[in-house]
Amino acid sequence: MTKTDPITTEVIRCRLFTIANEMSETMIRTATTSTFSESHDFSTAIFDSEGRMISLADGLPMHMGASKFSVLEVLKDFKGKIYPGDIIVLNDPYHGGSHIPDWTMMTPVFFNEELVFFPVIRAHQGDTGGTIPGGYNPDASDIWQEGLRLPAIKIYERGEPREDIIKMLSINTREPRFKGDLKAMIGSVNVGKRRLGDLLNKFGMQTVRDSMDQILDYSERCFRAEIREWPDGVYKGEGYLEHDCKGTTDITVRVTATVAGDTLKLDFSGSDPQTPGFVNSPVPNSYSFIFLTLSSMIEDSIPRNEGLLRPVEIILPPGTVVNPLPPAPVTACTLHIGGEIGEAVAMALEKCVPEKTYLQNVKMGMPVVTFGFQPDTGEFYLDQNTNMSAGWCNAAYGTDGWGSLPPYFGSMIMATAELHDMYYPVHTIEREFYPDSGGAGKWRGGAATIVRQQAKAQMWGNTFLIGTKYPMRGLAGGKDGPLNSTVMREGSDNELIVETTGFEIPFEDEDVLMVRFGGGGGWGNPLERDPKLVLEDVLDEYVSLESARRDYGVVIDKTAMTVDDAATGDLRKFMKSK
């Protein structure tokens, strides 16, 4: 076999990345629900005929480990029966999916009658049937109650739409704009197919295949080089989740990380058994969060693909929260316990390479979803309240936490208060950072918001709240972020402080919903933070005077607003001695 030269390989790699991004762009511009067009809750990638991820667009990283299993499922189920013009979709967590709302769609790309690629899109649907609008059913006791289960099914065969199947799908959703989104997904994979065809025509099969091998080898080589730098050893870490909405509490993910030479083994033996509630994480989803956490530790110029997984051995014991057996419900897993899987990995590796480690979790539970009928038209609406989430952004070594959410949520764009008020019967009262919301550290955790919004018509709210006991954790001596709090009908006679869940909670006209999230954890000992930076934070009201003294050991002269160096030195010395 002749090896394709590295220049051609790089040309092909960039081209594949451009194609994956063009698929994303197509979806953003054409989807008809704002979950996609505005919030970008989807990802696109290119896989090869063996189910290896070759290129990933800048989408939602938490989808990235999972889509591989979808392609493998299609290859297994339709072995010998995949034809040009097929479009295949699936969502079942026990058949190649991660949770019911995420639908994975792909189309095969052939060259000279040989299967070469699958352009793949995975997108979160607004509704997929099941007991509760929006898909998150905290009450579900099995997978059937979570929505319509789809193994790999063809919605197009040999270029012909299977209208019966499409109709079956569309009557199983409450989302009136479902067909528009389906069209957009189809458009996205078809764009990928067209461009990949051009690529094959230009370079030929063998060159493209050689290049794909080299692209994966390249990422593998980079990651092995990285791991080789890490101190060999065995490191343990745990991630915690308050509850599963069905009475199981303090659910724990446990991992033992073994670093040996250029390999990493992550053994999740000892993690808690699967629970009756919907927080169980099927294998594809567990892979995503492991992959996400490891990806945050390396240079972002290294391409994210299959090659990164090769140096890593992953053990997910069946029957646990990280690998549940059917028919356990799973819908919440793409946040929880997915996030806690990442947390466990980060807490283990913190003991090995603290400067590299980052905790990409969101202690979100589930945003408050409200629904009701538009006062003027009577039309049913479902409001995901994507304007409400700001918090949980940890500091990293060298960088304070900033912005709204951790980086891996960075492609999801929140709604603005103005459009949100315009489209739904609500009035946004405030959305602003509150003081001391970021965990103290040598680098401070990102601040978090308080949001208040007032109902302008009768509506109902669903939520699943966590982060009330286990906040975002500080690393390397940094302090944890604060806890979350959600209050429904705040200040009224009927005020409801949410403890674990709220389910079809009615709001009358003028009732207020208050959501206060916790901020990110800090990195490193706050007593080592530059006092000048602490003063800046106080001037900017991210940090209060009290916290400056209590958490950072920095004494600030209140009238001059300057650091009292002598008093700070003494206080820090005293605090360090304790």
Binding site: T32, S404, P407, D540
Partner: protein, 695 residues
Amino acid sequence: MGYRIGIDVGGTFTDFVYLDSPDNMKVFKVPSTAEDQSLGVISGLKKIAEAEGYGLEQLLEMTDLIVHGTTVATNTMLEFNGAKTGLITTRGFRDDIELRRGYKERIFNPRFPAPTPIAFRRNRLTVAERIDKNGNVHTALDESEARDAVMKLKDAGVESIGVCLLFSFLNPEHEKRIAGIINEVYPDAYISLSHEVLPQIREFERVSTTLVNSYTHPKLSKYLNRLESELRQLGFRNEFYVMLSGGGIMNVDYAGKYPVFSLLSGPAGGIVAATQLIGGDPAYSNLITIDMGGTSFDVSLIKNNQPAVSSDNWFSRYRIAIPMLDIHTIGSGGGSIAWVDAGGALQVGPRSAGSDPGPVCYGRGGTEPTVTDANLILGYLDPDTFLGGEMRLDLSAAEKSVDKLVAKPLGMDTIEAAHGIYRIVNNNMANGIRTVSIQRGHDPREFTLVAFGGNGPVHAGILAEELEIGTIIVSRLATALSARGMLSSNIVVNKMRTYIGTSEKYNLDEINSLFTAMKKEVEADMPAAGRSVAASIQEVEHNYFVDAHYHGELHEITVPLHHEEGRVTDQGIREAAEAFHQSHETLHTFANRDQPVFFMNLRLKSVRPMETIPLPEKELSDSNPESALRSNRNVFFEQVGGFVETPIFDGNRIKSGYILPGPCIIEEAATNIVVCPDQVARLTAADFYEITCSK
């Protein structure tokens, strides 16, 4: 006709194009003066006066028009050295500029820092007030709080204040009142009001655009006022305009008040030039322009003579939601550095050696190989004739550096490595062109490629081949094309209003009264007709547009909205809806004609046309280029698998009508044009090169 002078300040040089009659156009350049751009401007004007045999005052007295492209606002945002800026906003919404709607540029890199702040949180103050979504006052403005806030900002030494209140685009009364209070208690402050800068729904977009305006406001405003008054003192009596990012020009008052409109002042000129000069020929109404300089590669698209305009812009990590020419920039320039990364892959850029120290072959201390070094090794540049022989290039230094840092690590020879650099950068640029064309629903094969900038014409041939583009145009003005474009630009004032309605449910009276209000604003802003305004058309042309989308889509497409004598009719709405369906189909592959079209914003683009300057019409000589042949040398062409003896032509000696078959190289004063095998170049009567590609 008096003199007309176009002045474009670039990073290295300030270019001048001037003429006193259509067929007497001259080009001139002086080094830019970064500290105070006006020094370079005035010194260039002095030299022009000298060359024309006048004193500076005499020249200025005889000058009808000066159009200026300035990077003062641009550089302020690139270097983050703007004014100390404050914000007054609605209670409860202090942090939108930091929240950024959640957006982050690097989703895998938690160490990627926050954007450089342009208004510190301590200077972002909130006041009790609230307009609701219907434009009604929900909470009255607490004037004493507003007063306190202004005093606080004044005491903090804030120089420029942005005011951005929720729903001010529906009801600007509170913003206006706060402006009144600022004028009362802190009259020296610069003020930017969000309902004036961007009267549009979505508070993040509005506050970000407004704060960028505030941040750049004092610098640009002072600069323009100083320059204009200096010109006036020297005796200049006529029109002085500034090039704006949307492709129009406006007077100093307006440009100084809205600096955020001039962030792309420089590159906009080049696109106008391509549209007006090259696109003036009906054969070239669809163009893709590429401008490759030392550090970056700018691509833009012109369809049916209309340059693509976008409101979806980020600049220095700040959201700028005003319509600007849609220029896609990637970090590929002549100075882009080639390097082999830890995993053994060759990368080119985005780091650049710029012009200082510049490529290794410049001999100014650069040690890392660049695209220009690779181009020299491959023979596209000549060490002795670069920039008309002004600078000698060091070929052996370039070879050594490519050999050491690229060839050896990759196990290749020097030529292979140089060719590798060339291929990688070409691929990056081709992908950049794909982004603005294919990803937006346009097939590049239906376009003509217009190449400018010092390095654009070196790479245009191979890019055209990669993208199967049939024709390439290279202007002889090369780097001065932007300055020339400024002299072809019209006076343009853009206004907008948010209007929420659908193609089935709309209120014509409301729509028309919004347009009437916008036109009133235009009247106030529009400069009086001067000498250079087209004599036949003294009237201002009002063009109506509407931003539309399908239900649930939150990206709008702007389509024309027809009116009859200024009034929008039912027919106009129907046509706009149909235009939207069609655009949606082109852009996104499908239309939903059974669905209503949702309207979001109304836009008014008011144009006062300037007198056009006709293109030169040179007499065509016979086609034999022999008299322009300078030499032959070996040049690398991948199409023929290696070096081949190639004729090199002296651009100065080429006459209109000459036909130059590829492979060949044309050496112009500011750039080299590489004509690939299977391509043929010809100098047209309008004095630009037309290269046709048969592959």
